[in-house]
Amino acid sequence: MIVLSEEDVMLKDMANGWTADRAPVPALRALRGQLADTGFDPALYAEMAEMGWPAILIPEEFGGVGMNRVSLGLIAEELGRNLVGSPLVWSAAGAVSALTLGTNQAAKEALLPQIANGSLAAALAIDDENHHRPHTISTTAQKYESGWVLSGAKRAVPDATGVGLLVIAAQLEDTSPALFSCPVDTAGVTLTSLDRIDSRGAADIVLDNVSLGPDALLGQGQDYLDTVLDSVRAILAAEMLGGTAQAFETTVEYMKTRIQFDQPIGSFQALQHRAADMLGEIVLARAAVYGALQAIDAGDADASRQVSLAKAIAGDCFRTMAREMIQIHGGIGMTDEHDAGLYLKRAHVLDHTLGNAAFHRERYARMLDI
């Protein structure tokens, strides 16, 4: 259920206040042109860490706060409202899930406390090419006595340029997938920073016979990989929900103030009805997103399906809302100076991150054997 605990309400209010104060949309604009560096503002991430956000899913024994995915989703939603740039999702949901769901005790002990306190941020390198196909990973991992050797290429890895740790998907010799931890400065790892439309950081990565120690393997198997990815996808869906909600509210406010034909354009019924229909779409997206987060928290058997539901619906909803935001703003919405374009661009990139709406519709269908 969407009903929040007092703790969660406090968390959400805090995230809302902090984002409005410290990381409003202009903070994203300020990142432009600095992408070769980090793709996000390390100082802001340090503040997030002080508030304990990267530690939310980390068990207390590893220095975390042991809260659940709904809590992290609430934060992601608030960050999504203002398009905040940070590696939080990849670190707090991605790397943390890769570690906690894995079997590598040494890695947990070594890495989780650093992630918890924010000193180590992480990125997830999954896709080998332009589409998300986690069941046919082409990057390979070969086992030697001294450890592992990874070879291949990773495409458009979000926030890779600004973090210390890469969590890399590779195929083992038995063709099952696995995740490896790999410090970003390991020999053989080459990053090419990408300039993407959403002004956030990302990089293409070449892995040229990258040697990793025997402890680099965090976990393996298709189920393991899917569960880790679902953990991130649900949080990404929450981020998209936040972006959608903000785009909607900004647009409705504009409708109240923009005067044409001697009246606010919000008095025109054609626009009113489009806004009302859009509100309904957001109702569905919100239900799907919190349903997915709760399903993971509850360990529901159908959590994966719920995640695909949420990612697909939130993806479509954010795209549609961003388009409507531009259309209803008219010419001003087409200018770089206005925020509407930023929401459209972020919607597009997020939709394509870890499987777009079409990918998740197909996954949903297969899980129901349709």
């Binding site: 259920m1 009903v3 239900a287 349709i370």
Partner: protein, 394 residues
Amino acid sequence: MALDEQQFRQQAQDWLTENFPPSLRGGRFIMPHTQEEGSSPSADYLLWKQRMAAKGWSVPTWPSEYGGGGLSIRQAEILAEEMTRAGAFNPIGGLGIMMLGPTLLEYGNDEQKARHIPPIVRGEVEWCQGFSEPGAGSDLAALRTRCEDKGDHFLINGQKIWTSFAHVSDWCFCLVRTDTSVKQAGISFLLIDMKTPGVEARPIELINGVSHFCETFFTDVKVPKENLVGRVNQGWEIAKRLLQHERSGLSSQRNVANVEQGLPHLAREYVGTDDAGRIADADLRTRIVQHMMRQEAYGLALKHRNAEIEAGQDGTAPMSSLKNLGAGVAQELNELAVEILGHAGTGNRGPGFSNTELELTSGWLYSKCFSIYGGSHEIQNNILAKRELGLPGA
């Protein structure tokens, strides 16, 4: 609290095991009205109805003072889950339960509540709704049915339309005009016994052949003054509240009863599968999947709303949105069902079409009114624009 929930769940299970007649497993609610059409309920059905009425679980959240179950919303939800699990169903329904009961509990006086609510709980009295008129559809407040104060009684003259089941109902809750000089502020809320002389209901045939909607004529109908709910000219306020109950009721109905095993099952049967086991028509399959995802998200939205109400919070999902979404999802479902049937979904009557096929086809036609009744899609959008979004009037 989770512990209490567990306890209640156990109680509900036990009571259902003891009281729900196994012969009714998988059955469903039979409207008393439809008895005249030949499907009279079995002895077990009547027994089940009686037991549910006695327990008050036909209206689980109504106060036990008037025969209700006195449960919390969360308990009612658990009860519903356990009933589904047991293959049971609520044998009592109708507009008395969905709309009038909650309204009377709020606006009725003690005498009205004591008189009218217990028979509703027991499913003994059927109510119909006299709101719309030929010239007052979406613009409900334009209604003109006249109510004159004759001292010891009211005198009613006028015409209502879309009065569902008026021809077989016992009572009608009715909006009447008590002041012609103002619009909304000149309306009163009246309870009318359908057996009163001067009341006549004529069924209207719909596009799928059913005719449970009526035109209802009131000619010099005398109504006792005790049947006024609230004050004279307070009717619009009461009606708006009642319409919220209607929206709420309509938005919680899943409207999927006709396709019990779901679209994929129907599609596998009528369209077949490809080598990979997928529904053979890729274009159709894509639309079925999209629909099922909306359906599931809509179900989650209803669940969330119930949880919020239970927790005493304002619902984050506006009722008008849920009403529109529910209608849309149900219409989509019906469209897909007849598309899946192909020629089998074009029948009006047999031979050549199975009963299930005819029901799906008829249900599809009927589903077109989901976005009209209970306040059309357009009216809900007007409400949303004004009340939820605060957009200015034209």
